[in-house]
């Protein structure tokens, strides 16, 4: 009898080990990606993310399944995400603060990687950059508020005649915008040092920002500065109005510079996506999100649109132009 039990036990053990080895081999990781997109706009970081995952041997359809949860507005994104809330993901990846808030609300037990978002500590998503201490980690957008000051400094370098700057920022109090006031405070200090008069314009929508730009009389010594939050994701019309009024506009992304803004100084989004893939790889290999420090983007780029410079009648100093990483001609 004893012999029989031992034989049965051994057989079960062997079968179980075969089964688990097979399961491990055939494991298909499910990664959900929450992002905002619309016609003519697809987040640049997603391309870098997918490329890097492929390099890390995550092949879609083989060992990796990529579920895109998207919408044109945050409400659309939220309802799309709700449809997946009962599904099991290994990791959820987001492309911004609002998307991360949605992910936290609906997939709270799953590791979440943001690529990127601003002020994750101040917004309460992580406890500290070094030790997130939650199921959320990723890449933070701004190194600190100093970057806004740097952007203003660059605007002044590109257009040395700048004396007045229309400061457009998100005036709403919401989850999307927890920290505009911190940036405004930092910019005030730098503006005073650079002898720039600030015209502060909190706005509730992009349409309101467009109104502000169209109502302020154009002067060659004035510029438009935007504190980048998701509200200002579509600046196409604002950029064309700025050209009309001959305002140099410092935008929030390379895409916006290609669409007509004068310049941008910001992180290389494709590299952010690549680093996001590194986080996903670590998590899929067993590391806990709470132990992966939040990182800053490695590379920042200055992009200048020379066509816009010509249209608004400014000549960019050659030594500044030399510093640009990309020049649109």
């Amino acid at each position: 009898m004893k012999k029989k039990i031992v034989v049965y036990f051994m057989a079960i053990l062997i079968l179980a080990s075969f089964h688990s080895a097979e399961a491990q081999q055939g494991k298909v990781y499910r990664v959900g990606l929450i992002f905002l997109t619309w016609e003519g706009f697809f987040p640049t970081q997603v391309k870098g993310f997918r490329e890097a995952l492929q390099e890390l041997q995550y092949i879609e359809g083989q060992n990796f399944s990529f579920i895109q949860i998207k919408g044109q507005t945050y409400d659309e994104v939220r309802s799309a995400a709700k449809a997946y809330s009962d599904q099991k993901f290994d990791v959820v990846v987001t492309t911004g603060g609002a998307e991360t808030a949605i992910a936290r609300e609906l997939f709270n037990t799953v590791p979440i990687v943001f690529m990127p978002m601003s002020y994750p500590v101040e917004s309460g998503f992580v406890k500290s950059l070094a030790h997130p201490g939650t199921n959320i980690t990723g890449i933070t957008y701004f190194r600190d508020v100093g970057l806004d000051g740097k952007r203003l400094e660059i605007l002044k370098e590109v257009v040395p005649s700048t004396q007045r700057v229309i400061l457009l920022f998100d005036g709403r109090r919401s989850k999307e915008n927890p920290t505009s006031s911190i940036s405004v405070e930092a910019i005030r200090k730098i503006a005073a040092f650079l002898a720039i008069k600030l015209i502060e314009k909190p706005v509730q929508s992009v349409a309101e920002a467009e109104q502000v730009v169209s109502f302020i009389p154009g002067k060659p010594t004035a510029g438009v500065f935007i504190i980048c939050v998701p509200l200002f994701r579509d600046l196409k019309k604002t950029a064309s109005l700025a050209i009309e009024k001959k305002f140099p506009l410092i935008a929030c992304s390379q895409r916006q510079v290609a669409e007509g803004a004068l310049l941008n100084f910001g992180p290389d989004m494709s590299l952010i996506g690549r680093r996001g893939a590194w986080y996903v790889d670590r998590i899929l290999k067993g590391e806990r999100a709470e132990n992966l420090p939040v990182e800053n983007p490695l590379k920042f780029e200055m992009v200048i649109n020379l066509k816009t410079a010509e249209a608004i009648g400014i000549k960019i100093p050659p030594e500044v132009l030399q510093r640009a990483d990309k020049v649109i001609r």
């Binding site: 600190d144 100093g146 730098i190 590379k299 510093r323």
Partner: protein, 218 residues
């Protein structure tokens, strides 16, 4: 009588057959044990030696990767130090000392060495004279990045200083390098100090790929 003889004969034949069968089984078991034992022991020995061999290969591999990483790291630091020393040899320094014109040299240093985030120029008395940052605008009253005393003392002696690795906000590895700023050899004017983001080294080290135990490609 003949019947009983026949019975006896068949009994003897049966017992001889049984004995032969037993003998065959006996030989069979012995040969199975011998062959099996031999195979098993040679298998175990083979596994042991293979394990030893792969362990040795792995050690060689790790040593070579470590050597390549150390070489790359040294090269990375040397390149930054060279760029800093080159910046201190600008004609502006020779002609005007630590003047505003030297600021352009600092901007160029940031441009050509992506890993350098901040640079500070101190005069011989230890006062901040010039600063440049990749990611923040610097106000005159800013004293956020003050070179450590050891950096100042080492560079003042005409030597390069390489600081220990530290973590900014606990998440990003940095170290600092300082070089002397001299009008000419031996005539010290101050020091040039740089804050270096070591994540760039990580990028370089990650690029090291091992093809065969004796070949490294990066």
């Amino acid at each position: 009588m003949s019947e009983s003889i026949q019975n006896l004969k068949s009994k003897i034949q049966n017992s001889a057959g049984r004995q032969r069968g037993r003998l065959v089984r006996h030989y069979f078991v012995i040969s199975v044990i011998l062959i099996g034992g031999g195979l098993l022991s040679s298998g175990v020995l083979e596994i042991y030696f293979r394990y030893r061999e792969s362990q040795e290969n792995l050690t060689v591999l790790q040593q070579e990767v470590a050597a390549a990483a150390a070489f790359k790291t040294e090269q990375f630091i040397q390149q930054i130090e060279t760029a800093m020393r080159t910046a201190t040899k600008s004609p502006e320094i020779a002609r005007k000392g630590l003047s505003e014109e030297f600021q352009a040299e600092l901007t160029r240093l940031l441009l050509v060495t992506p890993a350098v985030e901040e640079v500070v120029v101190l005069d011989i008395a230890g006062h901040i004279r010039l600063q440049a940052s990749r990611f923040r605008a610097i106000l005159p009253e800013d004293k956020d990045e003050i070179p450590p005393q050891t950096a100042f003392e080492t560079a003042k002696k005409g030597r390069s200083f390489l600081g220990p690795v530290y973590f900014a906000r606990g998440s990003e590895p940095y170290n600092s390098i300082a070089v002397p700023v001299e009008r000419f050899a031996g005539e010290l004017m101050g020091i040039l100090w740089a804050k270096v983001n070591l994540k760039y080294i990580w990028e370089i080290i990650q690029g090291i790929k091992v093809e065969r135990p004796d070949t490294l490609i990066s």
